[in-house]
Subunit: 332 residues, 2 copies
DNA sequence: GTGTTGAATGACAGCGCTGTCATGGCTGCC
DNA sequence: GGCAGCCATGACAGCGCTGTCATTCAACAC
């Protein structure tokens, strides 16, 4: 790395002390307009870019916010990130991101290396962490937000919704529409990817609600791959090949459900007459389809947004349930 | 921020000097096994997490890599990010991300604040930057990769493909299939979002190729919103309402094209008999649709991957054209 | 004229780590 | 036995900035 210009050089160029330059750049303390102008000119002339590494070390406070996401393979977590990016930028924070691929061990390692940067706050996904990860989060002395799930206890700030309820809503909707022979298509992780615990919570809410009503899932296909439209299409095809009598299928999310919908379109299976499909998330793409997917809307942008604001603020620890909403759609 | 344990405390606990602890933690220099064990025990006992801010300042070299993306609203850039995340993690680097919303001024500001963290490298999107942004990138003394576009000159490393060619390929395909009455549906930015220069390059390649063949685009609809499935659906509807005689429509990307496809499905417009649709990117979702979209495949994961590797390596400045591929699909 | 204020600036130490050079002890070899 | 050569460890300075306290000086009151 070539030597970059430092505060000292700017100070010399402007004929003032370093601390004065520092104050000008941070708008802190009283500065004579003439001095400010002279300093800014030197900054411009030298193309000076402040070194926040040094600044952070000196002031023990960075503008970094760590964001730990399980995956970037579908649009869900990028949307959370997008929700957070706005407020963070507005408040002068910089997101540092880490992707776990749903692997708790990787999450632990990533949390540690994020913490090494002494971030101002950390946003993580979900409530389940390894004991050491949780200990690190508790002892970090910074705000921590856990996103996307409110089914459980948290560390500091929780911003999410109940995945169990999402499954329940799906089940109740399908029951109320008169469907009785239920299937489920879920996603596994493939070889290198861990379990999607929130999808499992939805599944359990779904199964539980059916059971309470005296019904059950007749058949279940778990595609051994990360969630995707292709996986959903394949999974539904498999499921129907095995169990042609089903009249309603719950899929682990809208990617999967859209895949299932595509399968039905291709095969001439009439939706929802012959088969009902229900997803999760209310992704835009599913709502613009010829028949909007029946699903549950999750406010992902809002989760990122609120999470970011709380993590950078000084509100007390709290759980924000952003709520979810049944989207009746046209596929169930 | 609560006081966190420091190297010094670990050193005291282990009965060695700070530098020894430092060496153990970084596996640098010779360390007696017994000493190493004693140090690691102290680290564990105190829950010590190294402070990379201090480390970076002392050694003038961070493990941060800045990534500047125009948008997170569709899956394209998250895929680039995902492509980069793997190699970066493997090589021990941490991505810091910034989102410009296609605004060059915002890009300039974001590059500056990324540079303030003295990253090891920077990955930006596209070849067009403000003069000051470009100057900062050139003077930063770090590796810079410009991604997603190879139509122009770059600063250091370029990893991308020709968007002009993508437009040309689309035009040639439609021409070769015998279509003659062409339309275009593009996306603008909406109120707060800048121009998508790469989409404009595709458009220009498309229009140019038609012209060379003696044809032209009869009608054009630019939706004043960021690219999305909904925008594509709306845009195609508008275009067809105005110009019902078109027989082939090029859309600015696959999101838009999928929206158009959904519109046709809803309206009973037969594809590609009555109307041909051509997109860009070969998104998974479009390839799993009942009729796979006719489009051009862009290797987005690969771009992120190669960009990350080059930025963190010491290869000479170079342009890597990852190439694109016509996907004939079934919609044109 | 003296003292009081407040605005504007500076001197200095230190944030937590690592690079550099120095040191002590041990092995091996003629 | 003496010395080269290596292993293991340490002392010290300094990375580039900011917090704290001190200083200067003009304006103003009495």
């Amino acid at each position: 790395m070539t030597r970059r210009t430092t505060l000292t050089e700017v100070a010399q160029q402007a004929g003032v002390s370093e601390i004065t330059v520092s104050r000008v750049l941070r708008n802190s303390g009283p500065i004579a307009p003439a001095t400010r102008e002279r300093v800014m000119e030197a900054v411009r002339a030298l193309g000076y870019v402040p070194n926040r590494v040094a600044g952070t070390l000196a002031s023990s406070g960075s503008n970094l916010v760590g964001i730990v996401l399980p995956s970037l393979a579908n649009i869900v977590f990028p949307e959370v990130l997008r929700g957070a990016a706005g407020p963070l930028a507005k408040m002068g924070y910089q997101p540092v991101i880490a992707v776990t691929e749903y692997d708790p061990a990787r999450e632990e390692a990533l949390i540690e290396s994020l913490l090494a940067w002494r971030p101002a706050g950390l946003m993580v996904t979900g409530l389940e962490h390894t004991p050491r990860a949780e200990a690190m989060l508790r002892n970090a002395g910074i705000r921590v937000a856990e996103l996307m799930d409110s089914d459980g206890a948290g560390i500091d700030i929780i911003v999410g919704f109940s995945n169990v309820d999402a499954g329940r809503i799906a089940a109740r909707h399908l029951l109320s529409r008169g469907y009785r022979r239920f299937g489920y298509v879920g996603h596994g992780g493939g070889a290198t990817i861990g379990k999607d615990l929130r999808a499992e919570k939805r599944w359990s809410g779904f199964a539980m609600t059916l059971k309470e009503a005296g019904y059950a899932v007749s058949d279940k296909e778990i595609v051994d791959a990360p969630s995707s439209v292709a996986a959903g299409r394949y999974g539904l095809a498999e499921l129907l090949a095995r169990s042609p009598g089903l009249d309603a299928v719950y899929l682990s999310n809208d990617d999967m459900a859209l895949g299932g919908y595509f399968h039905c379109l291709s095969q001439g299976i009439s939706i929802p007459g012959q088969l009902a499909l229900f997803g999760h998330n209310a992704l835009d793409v599913g709502q613009v389809a010829p028949q909007p997917l029946s699903t549950v809307r999750t406010p992902r942008l809002k989760i990122g947004e609120i999470g970011a604001k709380l993590v950078c603020g000084d509100a007390p620890p709290q759980t924000v349930d952003v709520g979810i909403e049944l989207i009746e759609g046209a596929t169930a």
